[in-house]
Amino acid sequence: MKETRPIAALQEELIDEFSLFEDWMDKYEHLIELGKGLPLIQPELKTDDKLIKGCQSKVWLHSEMDGDTVVFTADSDAIITKGIIAVLIRVFSHQTPESIVNADTSFIDEIGLKEHLSPTRANGLVSMIKQMKLYAVAYQAQLK
């Protein structure tokens, strides 16, 4: 089982990382780089039931339990979306269902991706977070 740090610490790390970039272009370029390192979903799992609704680009999200933590993999056909989901996976993957369910997500705002948080925004960041939390809720129920 992969050793991981608490969600709050990972969020702090991302906030620090993104604060290095003053200009939005550098920030997006970093996001795109993160997208390239996204833990990819197995091709055979890229089925329609793994698609997250509410995204203008396609986002497939898969989860499984590894010991007592949840492991997420994903993919998207848009690179900025891949970056966003990579950020979320860095924070939420290899965490216990309980900590995912209870996690605060205001760090998105602090790393300067606030505009993606609006529920009307078609990229579905809100839907991605919701889907990750729903998986966590389901695993939590299984564990009880």
Partner: protein, 405 residues
């Protein structure tokens, strides 16, 4: 006469704002147009001077509001060259108009009847007909596309038969900008006795249709695409059709007499205008038509075709950029992709540079399926856009390409 774009831009307060630290470049005109001060003032004046319910009050305000609303109807009639004022039905917009007709036709159709739509349709012009077919047992037939985004006319002729009861085609495609040969489409449909509804949502800001000359049975459009307010539009129907169609919604305004045994419906156009209408919107619609006619549709069309030609030429210089919808007749809409890059990514980056374009399937998924793409970036130009704004778009797309590839 050539139009003075700088002077025109002064009429549109929103064009002077900044977005993400850059002066706004608004290229999402196919979704909705911006509003000139003249239209905004008309709305403010209505609400601050003579707001009242119409058609029933005896008091002065109600009379004034009724007069203004009915003058707007006459402006619409004149603009579209409609024979009778009562053939102009105020709606909440194009979608409402389509649904009103689709609902009305459900009592005329039976199993074996056919409805023809084009593969270029907006979802709002597909879904109501699918619902109508489900209700009546009629079949939906689709006119297929050429690779350049134009309709295959010979296929349309093949689809027509005595079973065809209705043909529904948009005047101009919102996703690609293709101008459809509606005069020929209408003529052919009438030869087999089918009625034709034209969706003019996308066309009315670019051209001025003469509905008597076109001879269509129905024409629908929305004010907000042509510098008018949102939430108001018009349905034109030939008198004989409007008399035949049953009312769509029950309520106030649309009745003549109500007893518990029977209600008789009001005369046209009120039969289709149940409830208190969008009074300010209707009056604003009239003001928008006046504004556009003052500029002149010939000047608008001429200038927009220059914008389109320049933007097409400049965008095509970007390596890997492909334009969808390259037919000979099109309006100032450019739907494109860059090889290997998702349209959503391009849209996100150019927005950061203050440029508003639309990305996605533009409510026309069948078109995207035809090209086997998830969507496009769509830049749609209006007469208040400038050549400099085209340059800004092109440089933003180049920057996006650099960042994303």
């Amino acid at each position: 006469m050539a139009l003075n774009v700088q002077e025109i831009r002064n009429d549109f307060p929103i064009l002077h704002r900044e977005v993400n630290g850059h002066p706004l470049v608004y290229l999402d005109n196919a979704a909705t147009s911006q509003k000139p001060q003249q239209v905004i003032d008309t709305l403010v004046h209505y609400y601050s001077h003579y707001n009242a319910n119409i058609h029933r009050g005896v008091h002065t305000l109600s009379q004034e509001a009724t007069d203004a609303y009915e003058i707007a109807r006459k402006k619409i009639q004149a603009h579209f060259n409609i024979r009778h004022t009562h053939e102009v039905i105020f709606t909440s917009g194009t979608t409402h108009g389509i649904n009103l007709v689709a609902n009305g036709f459900s009592s005329f159709l039976k199993e074996g009847d056919e409805i023809i739509v084009s593969a270029l349709e907006h979802h709002s012009n597909i879904v109501p007909w699918q619902m109508l077919c489900e209700r009546t047992g009629a079949t939906l037939k689709v006119i297929p596309l050429n690779e350049n985004g134009t309709l295959i006319f010979s296929e349309y002729e093949q689809l027509l038969s005595s079973a065809t009861k209705l043909v529904f085609v948009n005047h101009i495609s919102n996703a690609l900008g293709t101008i459809n040969p509606i005069a020929k489409i209408i003529e052919k449909a009438h030869e087999v006795g089918a009625a034709v509804l034209i969706d003019g949502a996308q066309s009315c800001s670019h051209v001025k249709p003469d509905l008597q000359a076109l001879d269509c049975d129905f024409y629908v459009t929305s004010a907000h695409k042509m510098c008018g307010p949102t939430g108001v539009g018009m349905l034109y129907g030939k008198l004989e059709w409007l008399n035949k169609l049953p009312p769509y919604q029950g309520g106030g305004e649309m009745i003549k007499e109500v007893t518990f045994e029977k209600t008789t419906y009001a005369d046209l156009p009120h039969k289709f205008e149940a409830g208190t209408p969008n009074i300010a919107g209707g009056i604003g619609f009239g003001a928008a038509l006046e504004y556009l006619n003052n500029i002149g549709f010939e000047a608008i069309a001429q200038y927009e075709s220059e914008l389109l030609a320049y933007a097409t030429e400049e965008l095509l210089k970007i390596e890997g950029l492909k334009i969808y919808g390259t037919g000979p007749d099109k309006t100032s809409v450019i739907s494109f992709n860059i090889e290997g890059i998702h349209p959503y990514d391009i849209g996100t980056i150019v927005d950061k540079l203050g440029i508003a374009v639309r990305t996605g399937h533009h409510c026309a998924q069948p078109i995207m399926d035809f090209y086997q793409i998830p969507g496009t970036v769509r830049a749609s130009f209006a007469f208040y856009n400038t050549m400099e704004e085209v340059d800004r778009l092109v440089s933003a797309v180049k920057k996006a390409k650099m960042m994303l590839s």
